[in-house]
C-alpha cells in the first residue's frame, strides 16, 4: 500500500505548523506559573564540601530551592547509577545540584547564582584507554553495589559485550593479507532546533506534565520511579514536538519540575537555553575509539575480523547499556565473515552521559568500518564497489552472528546508488566519489490504539505513538482510513497523551510505523468487522459479503444495496458503539546460531533489518582542507514504503545530519572536562547553503515479520552510511583515510 501520489500526503499537523498556531511546550502558560532554573555542577568531578542555599532562598520572589534532600533517595537508569540531584559527588559539568522555582526566569537565574557550592576536586577520568587501567580513578566508587545483573561490567567498564563466531585466529592464519586500522570519533549532539521545555501542574495528588519528550510513557515511568507515584497519578502530554533525534529520548527532568511544582503549589515551567540543551541532557552521541583488523584472501574474500571498541559512556548510563553490542554489529557490518571476534566496552568518564542519538553507535562505527573496507579493497587491488558486492550479504546469506537473512535488498541498494551517481565516470581532479553501505535493526515492541466513530461519522484515532516530526504518526490515519474505505481526513488524531492512549514505546528506534502501524491496522480491522456486521443487519446480507469503500458499506456484486458509514454511525450511536482497539503482536527476534556473545543485550540478531548504500561526490580545496559534498545518491531497503514523501524526507534529513557528523559536528573539551563548543556558533550544523543534491531510491520488498503491509522503519537508517561514504571520497583525494571524526578542514589539511 502506498499513499497515493495523486492525492498528496498532507500531514494532519501541517496547518498548525505553517501558520504558527501549533503549540510547543514553551508556548504554553498557566495562571500563577513559576519559572524553574537548575544549578549545575559546572565542574567534571568533585566532592561537595559545602552547599548553602540561604542567600538564594532569601531573594524576594524565590518560591523554592530543592536539593537531593527534598526527593526520595532513588537510583535510576539502565544501570541504576544516577539520582535526580547530586548528593555527594558530581561526575560531570551538567549534573543538577539544586533546582529553583521563582516568580520569573530572571529571579530564578539570580537565585541560582546565589547558591553557594564548594567542591573538593577529584581526578578527572576523560581518556578511554587510561580509564581501563587498574590504577585509574573510578567514576563510580561504588559501581559494584549497583543492581545491574543484565550487564557484564567491571570498574570503569559499565557494560561489555562481544560477538564471536568461528575461530578468528585460524581465520587470520588462513588469510593472504591482514589489514589493521585505527579510528577515533569525537562525541556529538542531536541538536533539535526546539530546546526542551517542561511544565508541571498538580491537582490534588495527580500531576500533569507537558514535556518535549520523544518517549512520554518512559518519561512517566521515570517520574513514577523517582517520586514514588503510581502510573495513573502522572499524565504526560506532549504538545507539538520540535524535533528530537534521540536527544529527547529517555527520562530527563520531568521529575525535577514536578517536584518543584508540588513544593510551590503552583504550575512550574522549565525552558532550556541552547547551552543547557548541549550540556545537561543524558543524551550525547558517544565518542569512540575503534581498532579493526581483517583477514582477506587474494581474491578479496573476507575470512576473519577482529575488533576492539571503546565507547565513551560519560558519567551515567542513561540507556547505553546495549550500545557495545550494537556498535560491534556495526563494526562487523552487513558482510559475510566466517570468523569474527569483536569486543566492545562502554567506559565511564567524567563527561556528559551518552544515549540514543539517531542510530546510536552506527554512524561512527560504520564510518570506521567502511573506511577500513576501502583499505581492504585497495590492499588486494580491487574496486571498492566490487569488493562490497563480493562480500556483502544478500538474500539467503548467513551473517556475522549466524543469522540467515530472508529476502533483503542490500545488493540492489549498492547497484542503485552507484548507478545514480554514475560511479566510475570521469571527474575533475579535486572531486571524487565514495561509497559506503550500512544496516540497522527493527525494534519490535508493544503498542496500542483505540479507534472510534461518533454519531456523525467523524472518527478519532487515539494512539500512544509520539510524533517527533518524521511523519510516522501522521501516516496512521491513512492506514486506518484505507482499511475502512474512508478518507484520512475523516479521522482526528488524539496522540502523545499518556492519560488518554494505550502504551507505546515512543519516537525511538524507528519503531512507530513498525509497531503502532500494526496496532492501527489491527484496530481498523476490528472496526471494519463492526461496521460490516452492522451493515449486514441493515442490508439483510451476510457479513462476509459486505465491502467498505468510498464511505459506503455495500453488498458485493449489488452496489445498489448499500448504506453510508455516516448512516451506520448514527445507528450505532443508539446501540453498540463503533469502538475498537488494536495492539501490535510481538515479532520474535531471531535466535543466535553458531555464535557466542558475552554480555548479550539482544541486539546481535535482528528482526526485519534495514539496509542502505550511500554514494557521495565531494570536492576538496587543497589549500584549506575544506571538503564540500556536492551530490549524494542513496538507496534504502526499508521494506514497503507507505508514505513516499515522508520517507524521502527522512532520508534527506538523515543524510544532512550525516554530512554534519562527517565534517563539522564534534564536541571539544577543555582540560577540566567541560564542553568548549556548546553553542550553535561553535558547533556547526549544516545550513541550506551547504546542502547538496540528494537522490533517493527505495528498494521495496514486502517484508514478512515487519510492519504494516511489509514496511520496516526508516528514521535512523539514513543516518548510518553517509559519513563512511564521505570518508572514502576524501581518502581517494588525499591518498589515505582521515582517521578522526569529524573530518574537519583542519584535520584534512594536516594530512595533506
Amino acid at each position: 500500500m502506498v499513499i497515493s501520489e495523486s492525492r498528496p500526503f498532507l500531514r494532519a499537523d501541517g496547518p498548525d505548523k505553517v501558520t504558527g498556531s501549533g503549540r510547543y511546550v514553551a508556548d504554553i502558560s498557566l495562571t500563577g506559573m513559576a519559572a524553574a532554573k537548575f544549578k549545575y555542577a559546572g565542574m567534571a568531578h568533585g566532592r561537595i564540601t559545602k552547599l548553602d542555599l540561604e542567600a538564594a532562598r532569601s531573594i524576594p520572589g524565590v518560591y523554592a530551592v530543592l536539593t537531593h534532600k527534598d526527593v526520595p533517595d532513588v537510583r535510576f537508569g539502565a544501570i541504576p547509577d544516577r539520582k535526580l540531584f547530586a548528593s555527594d559527588v558530581v561526575r560531570f559539568e551538567g549534573e543538577v545540584v539544586a533546582a529553583v522555582a521563582a516568580i520569573d526566569a530572571a529571579t530564578a537565574a539570580r537565585a541560582v547564582e546565589a547558591i553557594v557550592v564548594e567542591y573538593e576536586p577529584l581526578p578527572i577520568v576523560d581518556d578511554l584507554e587510561a580509564a581501563l587501567d587498574e590504577n585509574s580513578p573510578l567514576v563510580h566508587e561504588s559501581w559494584a553495589d549497583y543492581d545491574a545483573d543484565h550487564v557484564v561490567r567491571d570498574r570503569n567498564v559499565a557494560s561489555f559485550s562481544s560477538i564471536e563466531r568461528g575461530d578468528v585466529e585460524a581465520g587470520m592464519a588462513e588469510a593472504d593479507l591482514v589489514v589493521t586500522s585505527r579510528f577515533e570519533a569525537d562525541a556529538s549532539h542531536a541538536v533539535p532546533i526546539e530546546p526542551r521545555g517542561i511544565l508541571a501542574q498538580w491537582e490534588g495528588d495527580r500531576v500533569t506534565i507537558w514535556s518535549s519528550t520523544q518517549v512520554p510513557f518512559q518519561a512517566r515511568a521515570g517520574v513514577c520511579e523517582t517520586l514514588g507515584l503510581a502510573t495513573n497519578k502522572v499524565r504526560i502530554i506532549v504538545p507539538h514536538l520540535g524535533g528530537g533525534f534521540g536527544g529527547k529520548c529517555g527520562f530527563h527532568f520531568e521529575a525535577h519540575v514536578a517536584a518543584l511544582a508540588r513544593a510551590v503549589r503552583r504550575p512550574v515551567k522549565l525552558v532550556f537555553t541552547r547551552e543547557e540543551e548541549f550540556v545537561a541532557p543524558d543524551r550525547r552521541r558517544e565518542g569512540m575509539t575503534i581498532d579493526v583488523t581483517s583477514g582477506i584472501r587474494r581474491d578479496g574474500t573476507l575470512v576473519a575480523r577482529r575488533g576492539r571498541m571503546l565507547l565513551d559512556n560519560g558519567a551515567y548510563t542513561a540507556d547505553a547499556d546495549f550500545f557495545p553490542q550494537l556498535a560491534a554489529m556495526h563494526l562487523a557490518g552487513p558482510y559475510k565473515i566466517p570468523n569474527v571476534l569483536i569486543e566492545s566496552s562502554l567506559v565511564y568518564t567524567n563527561r556528559q552521559p551518552s544515549g540514543s542519538v539517531r542510530a546510536p553507535t552506527a554512524p561512527q562505527a560504520c564510518w570506521a568500518l567502511e573506511a577500513h573496507t576501502d583499505e581492504l579493497a585497495d590492499a588486494v587491488g580491487m574496486d571498492p564497489v566490487a569488493f562490497r558486492r563480493l562480500n556483502a550479504i544478500d538474500s539467503g546469506s548467513v551473517g556475522v552472528v549466524g543469522q540467515t537473512y530472508g529476502e533483503i535488498g542490500l545488493q540492489q541498494c549498492i547497484n542503485a546508488a552507484v548507478e545514480e551517481i554514475e560511479y566510475g565516470s570521469d571527474l575533475p581532479p579535486d572531486e571524487a566519489v565514495g561509497v559506503a553501505i550500512g544496516w540497522w535493526p527493527s525494534f519490535p515492541g508493544p503498542s496500542g490504539v483505540y479507534i472510534k466513530i461518533d454519531d456523525d461519522g467523524a472518527g478519532q484515532i487515539i494512539t500512544g505513538a509520539q510524533e517527533c516530526g518524521t511523519g510516522a504518526v501522521m501516516t496512521i490515519p491513512h492506514i486506518v482510513a484505507d482499511e475502512l474505505g474512508m478518507q484520512p481526513g475523516d479521522f482526528e488524531l488524539i496522540y502523545q497523551d499518556t492519560g488518554a492512549a494505550p502504551y507505546d514505546v515512543g519516537a525511538t528506534g524507528s519503531q512507530t510505523l513498525l509497531n503502532n502501524g500494526r496496532a492501527a491496522l489491527a484496530g481498523a480491522r476490528e472496526l471494519a468487522r463492526q461496521l460490516k456486521e452492522l451493515a449486514a443487519e441493515h442490508l439483510e446480507a451476510s457479513t462476509e459479503d459486505i465491502v467498505l469503500q468510498s464511505g459506503e458499506a455495500s453488498v458485493v456484486g449489488s452496489p445498489a444495496s448499500s448504506v453510508s458509514i455516516v448512516e451506520l454511525a448514527a445507528i450505532a450511536a443508539d446501540n453498540n458503539l463503533l469502538l475498537a482497539h488494536g495492539s501490535s503482536e510481538v515479532i520474535e527476534t531471531p535466535p543466535l546460531v553458531g555464535s557466542t556473545c558475552v554480555g548479550d543485550q539482544g541486539v546481535a540478531a535482528w528482526s526485519a533489518p534495514q539496509f542502505s548504500c550511500h554514494a557521495v561526490r565531494v570536492r576538496l580545496d587543497r589549500d584549506t582542507g575544506v571538503v564540500r559534498v556536492l551530490e549524494v545518491s542513496t538507496a534504502h531497503d526499508s521494506g514497503t514504503i507507505i508514505n513516499p514523501l515522508g520517507a524521502t524526507g527522512q532520508v534527506e534529513g538523515g543524510v544532512l545530519m550525516g554530512i554534519g557528523q562527517a565534517l563539522t559536528e564534534g564536541t571539544r573539551y577543555d582540560e577540566d572536562g567541560r564542553q568548549l563548543n556548546a553553542g550553535l556558533l561553535e558547533y556547526k550544523l549544516q545550513t541550506i547553503a551547504d546542502a547538496p543534491t540528494i537522490a533517493t531510491r527505495f528498494i521495496e520488498i514486502d517484508t514478512p515479520d515487519a510492519g504494516p503491509h511489509g514496511a520496516k522503519g526508516l528514521a535512523e537508517a539514513p543516518n548510518v552510511a553517509t559519513a563512511g561514504a564521505i570518508a572514502n571520497a576524501i581518502a581517494k583525494l588525499v591518498g589515505h583515510p582521515i582517521r578522526r571524526l569529524p573530518m574537519t578542514a583542519e584535520r584534512v589539511w594536516e594530512t595533506l
Binding site: 504558527g20 532546533i193 516530526g469
Partner: protein, 154 residues
Amino acid sequence: MTYILTVNGTDYPVDADVTRNLLSVIREVVGLTGTKEGCDDCECGACMVLLDGRPVNSCSYLAVQAQGCAITTIEGLQSDGDLHPLQRHMLESGAVQCGFCTPGMIVSARALLDANPDPDDEDIRIGLSGNLCRCTGYARIIEAVRKTAAGDSG
C-alpha cells in the same frame, strides 16, 4: 516602560522593561507564540520576523526599537483564513517535519520573495542561510520557495 508595537497591522500597548528583546515581547506580552526561540543567539533564525519588510532575528533586537515599524510575524501571513502560498507549498512539498524552524523559514522566504520575486536556487540558498533546519535536507524548502515564486497553484 509603556509603548505601542504594531504587529500584523494591529497596535498593541506594551508595558515592558526597556531591556526586553522583541522575541520575548511578541511571545509573552503581545501573546503571539508562532515565532520561536531556538538559540537566543542570532544563530538559528527560528525567531525571524519582518520589520517594515526586512527580516530580523527578534531574539537579538530590542523591542523598544521596533516602535513605529510594521512588524510581521508568521501569524500575519494568512489572509482571510487562507494559507499564504508559501505556507501551502511548504506543506505540500514535504518541507515541514517537526515544524519548529518553519515559521522563521517562511518569514525569511517571504522577505526574500518580496525583494526578489524570481530567485534562482542560489538566491534562495543565500536568502535562507540564516535559518537552520535539523529535520529536512533543505531541498524541499528550496522547492517550496521555487514553486511559490513560479505562482504554481498545484
